[in-house]
Symmetry: C2
Subunit: 343 residues, 2 copies
């Protein structure tokens, strides 16, 4: 693929991303200074199509990029689009604001991403089980139940209603909490050493109480439990994309966006190092093979914490999405660090 072909491909992709219309040879000749006539560009485009980088709806409609075409563009031709100062300012402003609850950080991150990219944003918060236990307390609910409040180092707080074994009093629960606090402080939740369990076991003589303690810990770990972990933003912004002009398509994608489990799987599949782009048919899941996903993972001290992503039509401003995710990434890692995530 010689340089001129690359320039033509670049021109086609850029114009198509901008206009959402198939682009023709004359348009390119007019808008990009390639120094050749439309006829030559036509020839190049025919070649590019033969090579699989462009597609043709019908004879006489302009070309649109194929997944392969986008891939080549993203990997080599694209120039990363810098965020404007205004956009940066807007983001910085928000992150400097006082955070009231940790969930807000993720929700707002999703909102900001979708706002800037006009696409759906997905934010997968750090998994609770990856974080370090900080403390457990119980609040009394009624005579049979109490509420367990579990906090981890990242400032995550989980509530669970737990039934108290008959015969156990609230004081027993508080005693149990003290034991658990003593034994688990500093443990990462998905890797509680056996020794810790043994210690809890030995300090809690009552069998039922021990079971209750395990129950609390296990249910706190059960991430599929609540709907907390995945934050979505921009289902409305999405509608401004011409790809979603017809309601059927919108329904389809909204349906998919409700399948939280599926989304998590998709994000997990993309879990890679840093920025990653998956384009159209590269997606395993059939329903989004006309969409692309840009994902970024945020880390702390080498430990994977979570993922943020932009999901949109293949005709997406990859450069912008990538810069933005990179930028948000830093902020998120920073926030999580400030909140005292265990490094």
């Amino acid at each position: 693929m010689d340089e001129r072909k690359q320039r033509v491909l670049q021109a086609v992709v850029q114009d198509y991303i901008e206009s959402a219309e198939p682009v023709g040879s004359r348009t390119i000749a007019r808008r990009h200074d390639l120094g050749v006539s439309p006829a030559t560009i036509r020839n190049e485009m025919a070649d590019l199509e033969m090579l699989g980088y462009l597609e043709h709806i019908h004879t006489s409609s302009g070309r649109i990029p194929s997944s392969k075409g986008y891939r080549f563009y993203v990997d080599g031709l694209m120039q990363p689009m810098r965020l404007t100062d205004e956009e940066k300012a807007q983001i910085d402003l928000w992150y400097r604001a006082r955070v009231k609850r940790i969930e807000e950080v993720f929700q707002e991150t999703a909102r900001l991403i979708s706002h800037v990219t006009k696409n759906v944003a997905l934010v997968l918060a750090p998994q609770m089980k990856k974080s370090a236990f900080r403390c457990l307390q119980f609040l009394p609910l009624d005579d049979r139940r109490s509420v367990a409040v579990l906090m981890t180092d990242a400032g995550f707080i989980e509530n669970r209603i737990v039934a108290m074994p008959s015969g156990a009093s609230f004081e027993d629960f508080q005693r149990m909490a003290r034991v658990v606090n003593d034994c688990l402080t500093g443990c990462t939740l998905d890797a509680i050493p056996k020794a810790a369990y043994r210690k809890i076991r030995s300090e809690i003589s009552d069998e039922d109480l021990y079971e209750a303690a395990l129950d609390v810990i296990n249910r706190a770990l059960d991430d599929t439990d609540g709907r907390e972990r995945l934050y979505l933003g921009g289902t409305r912004e999405m509608l401004s994309q011409p790809e979603f002009r017809d309601v059927e398509r919108v329904k389809e994608i909204l349906l998919m966006l409700e399948e939280e489990q599926l989304l998590k799987e998709i994000l997990s599949a993309h879990l890679g190092d840093g920025l990653r782009v998956t384009i159209g048919q590269e997606n395993d899941y059939k329903g989004i093979q006309d969409c692309s996903i840009v994902t970024a993972t945020y880390h702390l001290d080498g430990e994977l914490l979570g993922t943020i992503a932009v999901l949109g039509p293949t005709r997406m401003e990859y450069g912008k999405a990538m810069s933005l995710l990179g930028y948000m990434n830093e902020h998120l890692s920073d926030v999580v660090r400030r909140l005292g995530w265990q490094g």
Copy 2:
């Protein structure tokens, strides 16, 4: 308005609700046994239009009900549609399931309502400030901040990150929590007696600590704070309504549904006794004058707790929405009672 007119009006409304197409005299003659010819029905329809119950897009299109027509229908003609046993079973099943967190109850209620009615469901949870204080605890976050966990009698739990005044230790905070717990137990949060404040004041000697205590209480009361209180469901179901065939309309309504404050105001305006229907132009807010809202409030011992609502096109199955809300209402009141709301 004689009986035959009423029967014609009823027929028009029912058919229109079912088909979403303007209905003509012949259709009615065919599908409802009124014992008269289409011509007569035409005459009646002309009268009904004159009286303001029906509308006409143009000559030669069938009639559609006006807001006034729907109103008459809802107030007098409609037969309340019973829920099917299957629907009831589905609902009962869910409510019998083990509730993990109180928020789930409201979220799932919204989901169920939207699923059955194919419209948007709104659930306004009991206001925290109306509930009785149960207990306050602190969890340590870092050396400058801690997390306040406040629980009320309904099982609501609120977390807030609070800054600790310099000089105060976490132990001070725990001491403060004990004082607050002693003084406020049983108080309704929006009506904390002055005496309670005085008592707290006298028991907490440290000025900064007292301020911090007030801060926690006040911020917990601040309902606009989190996004917890209003639960939405069914933005996807909504799309199956033919009224939302064009994306512009969808965008409009989605935009509105994001304005949580606005929705709360609308719901509050509809706050009435039991079931209430607001139809089309009866709505104050311009953006939903082609929509109707059915609201129901749930109480306990005469005290208003919250509101559940169905929002959809004026062409809505009022009977079904009303029965459903009534049914969900009982369940909700029941759940809240079980969770020990202070009567």
